[in-house]
Symmetry: C2
Subunit: 170 residues, 2 copies
């Protein structure tokens, strides 16, 4: 039998960098204009089109026995009165969990069930936040430094952004 080989990635806690980088996914304001309320601030900020967040994804098979894992960085800043945040997502396989270990910064982890139950957890250095199956989740940087966290989810969980993009949260 051929086994998938063990691999190491390394996060430099000071330089906020994953080695090897894996797949780097960057979200700029232009990728998420519908998620902020203040149209004028969006228009103004789009001239610079800042990176809102990015994540480094280790390349792992999309299979239920595997575990996807990534380092996410949400930058500090505001669009109008709203903090920089991630798009937020359900998993394609909805009954799968996710875990965030916060390495640096200060944030809020906003979660919602399909029945619109809400829950917000604090994110700070050393927080281990458990996002149980079914909860959609979004992270918000409420500090002045980058919010950096390590995330783990089941290999086949997948992402569903569509519902959240169209829905007003909270």
């Amino acid at each position: 039998m051929r086994y998938f080989k063990p691999i190491n990635s390394n996060i430099d806690f000071k330089k906020i960098k994953l080695q090897p980088e894996g797949e780097v996914i960057i979200r700029k304001l232009s990728d998420m204009v519908d998620m902020y309320q203040n149209q004028e601030a969006i228009k103004e900020t789009l001239k610079e089109n800042p990176i809102i967040y990015k994540f480094y994804n280790v390349k792992i098979p999309e299979d239920k026995g595997h575990l996807q894992h990534c380092i996410s960085i949400v930058y500090p800043g505001k669009i109008g009165g709203e903090y920089y945040m991630t798009k937020g997502h359900f998993h394609k396989i909805k009954d799968t969990a996710e875990i965030y270990l916060t390495l640096k910064g200060r944030g809020k982890l906003v979660m919602q069930t399909p029945d619109n139950e809400c829950k917000i957890l604090e994110m700070k250095e050393g927080s281990i936040s458990y996002i149980p199956p079914y909860w959609a989740h979004r992270t918000i940087n409420i500090g002045k430094e980058p919010l950096i966290f390590f995330g783990v989810y089941r290999g086949d969980a997948g992402h569903n952004y569509g519902i959240i993009e169209k829905k007003v949260w909270l």
Copy 2:
């Protein structure tokens, strides 16, 4: 529908403590005498019966949509010529992975497939070690400080120590 509620645990990176503690599992030398070679050193060290390692387990349903997670601490030391190490285990559901993020200390992560293929990864602050499905795994503290790491695995994966207790590794 009733959803499992999101929860936060917190690891103090300086004090090496999880809050809330969850379930604390302690392994003393007397729990693992068959794993070291030097019978005389074992007999001598059993007088004090030191804690070799312990882990703080967050209480999560044992279900395939969930993710178990824990903080493990392997203390520094030797029994005869051998470093303190964990018992090591396969998962009961063998085709499930595990991830270790090393927070402090220096170690070796020793892995083996059912076909006796071996692989060793370094553990140091910021190492993200991916243990793919099927690989048995054991951690060894090779430093002078506690080796501390955050581990995540599928909710229903379970542990199988028996095979490794009876088998000479490497």
